[in-house]
């Protein structure tokens, strides 16, 4: 479904990704953990080309997407993205946030888009909030709208960039519940998160990244309880407390 092959990325003198290779099968939920600055976010952004890899290949459904002749807009319709800071459009209500992509990218009529957006808002438990502006919603509600907005494009896979890191503790659960349901329905997902409960319950595999490389890869059980690498062990011991 998604294949990343030897991807390198520099930001100026900073070597952020040092040859990343991994593959995600259809329906898998991959969790990426690792210390800040290890390149997790950059890796996610290389998949939907918000960041262009310096070298290496990214394949979605067998199509190499980081090459000339492939429109970025097309790639981004294949994979939805959810951000740490929600990034809902401030000037639009919850429902307009969801319909914008439907009408402008998919060319759907306004009525059809509204109908679909209502279904999605209901699915994330926010049917009653369709006319609220982002500033009128809690962090958890905003993030759920953001998930609905991304799902509206019918993506083949979803990328989550620390979706609960900016949330107050009481709102983390509601967002994770939506994500868990999504994974159970068979959505292909790559999630950067430090929510160990979520990782243990949902992740088919966990990748541990450090200093721009994938250091270790394995099941939750293996990464959290029987890590092979010293760096994994030391990181896991810090986040498991």
């Amino acid at each position: 479904m998604i294949r990343v092959n030897d991807v390198q990325k520099h930001f100026g003198a900073l070597h952020v990704l040092r040859g990343i290779t991994f593959e995600v099968q259809k329906g898998e939920a991959i969790v990426i953990i690792g210390p800040s600055g290890s390149g997790k976010s950059t890796l996610l952004r290389c998949i939907n080309l918000l960041v262009e890899p310096d070298s290496g290949q990214v394949f979605i459904d067998g199509v190499q997407v980081n090459r000339h002749g492939i429109r970025h807009e097309w790639v981004r319709q294949q994979v939805g993205m959810v951000f740490q800071s929600f990034n809902l459009f401030t000037h639009l209500t919850a429902i307009d946030n969801v319909t914008l992509g439907l009408t402008r990218v998919k060319g759907m009529t306004h009525d059809k888009a509204v109908e679909k957006a209502r279904e999605l808002l209901a699915r994330v438990g926010l049917a009653a909030k369709e006319n609220s502006y982002p500033a009128e919603l809690s962090g958890g509600q905003q993030q759920r709208v953001a998930i609905a907005r991304a799902l509206a494009m019918d993506p083949k896979a979803m990328l989550f960039d620390e979706p609960t890191s900016a949330l107050d503790p009481e709102y983390i659960r509601e967002v994770l519940d939506v994500m868990t349901a999504l994974a159970r329905e068979g959505m292909t997902m790559i999630v950067v998160t430090h929510e160990m409960g979520f990782a243990s319950n949902v992740a088919s595999r966990i990748l541990f990244m450090d200093a721009g490389k994938i250091v270790e890869e394995g099941s939750a059980e293996q990464i959290f309880h029987r890590p092979k690498e010293e760096r994994t062990r030391s990181f896991v011991s810090k986040i498991l407390r």
Partner: protein, 263 residues
């Protein structure tokens, strides 16, 4: 403002000062000068205000452009027109502005105009450019106040970059720019009075001319005071209506989460 002027001249001042010039002849003269002046001011505002917004918006956009050849001319423009007093700009524009227009174009499109009127028109454009430099900075700040995450979210949805600009950035930029634009519009309206210095036909110039005509009949100082008071009230009403209008726009486009950021 016409009402204010009439009230002042017909009721208040005659009562206080035992007005002796209350003759139909005086009022014919007064209204002719006032109305001509007022319409002149309206005309210059109608010319400079939209022009300055368009120029200011384009320059503000160019200043945040990723393309360097857009950025530096815009920043040169802003620094020059913001850095010169509008009076100096008006003097330059009126003295040398017409020579910038090629003679064939003058003959073809401006044949019916006197050269002096063309000069005042160009001077008005100079005032618009002065204001547009300030507006460019307002729009630039508006653009820069839209968080980068908004653009990323638009991209991640698959919107093309012009669609992100049109549907995500511009609406927020305009909303954020409205309050400071109100200030700038008030300044621009007042600055059209500078055109009086180069024989522009507007409120200040016509009021000065009126007093010139009236002084032949031995004008008491209170009348000079009265005429200028009417002018002052007119400007107050004008600037207040425009800033008030913008307030209404602000309320119409009220968005929770966007009014808290002030530029």
């Amino acid at each position: 403002m016409v009402v204010a002027g009439l009230l002042m001249a017909f009721v208040i001042l005659p009562a206080i000062f035992n007005f002796s010039l209350l003759s139909t002849q005086f009022w014919q003269i007064y209204t002719r000068f006032y109305i001509t002046g007022l319409f002149g001011t309206f005309f210059y505002v109608a010319l400079t205000l939209p022009l300055s917004v368009v120029l200011g918006f384009l320059m503000g956009w160019a200043r945040v452009s990723r393309i360097r050849i857009f950025r530096w001319p815009a920043s040169l423009y802003v620094n020059i027109f913001r850095g010169l007093p509008p009076l100096i700009l008006v003097i330059f524009a009126s003295l040398f502005g017409t020579s910038l227009i090629p003679q064939p174009i003058l003959d073809r499109f401006f044949a019916g105009f006197r050269r002096g009127d063309i000069a005042v028109g160009i001077a008005a454009i100079a005032i618009a450019m002065h204001s547009s430099a300030y507006q460019a900075e307002i729009f630039r700040a508006g653009f820069q106040s839209v968080p980068k995450g908004q653009v990323e979210a638009a991209q991640a949805l698959g919107l093309r970059s012009w669609q992100g600009m049109r549907h995500v950035i511009l609406p927020q930029t305009f909303r954020l720019s409205l309050p400071p634009l109100g200030n700038e519009f008030a300044v621009l309206i007042k600055d059209t009075s500078i055109l009086a210095g180069i024989a522009g036909t507007e409120l200040v110039a016509k009021s000065r001319d009126l007093l010139g005509v009236l002084s032949a009949s031995g004008l008491p100082i209170v009348w000079i005071f009265a005429v200028w008071t009417v002018v002052a009230i007119t400007y107050l009403v004008l600037t207040y209506s425009v800033t008030r209008g913008l307030r209404l726009l602000e309320r119409k486009f009220h968005t929770p989460g966007l009014e808290a950021i002030s530029l």
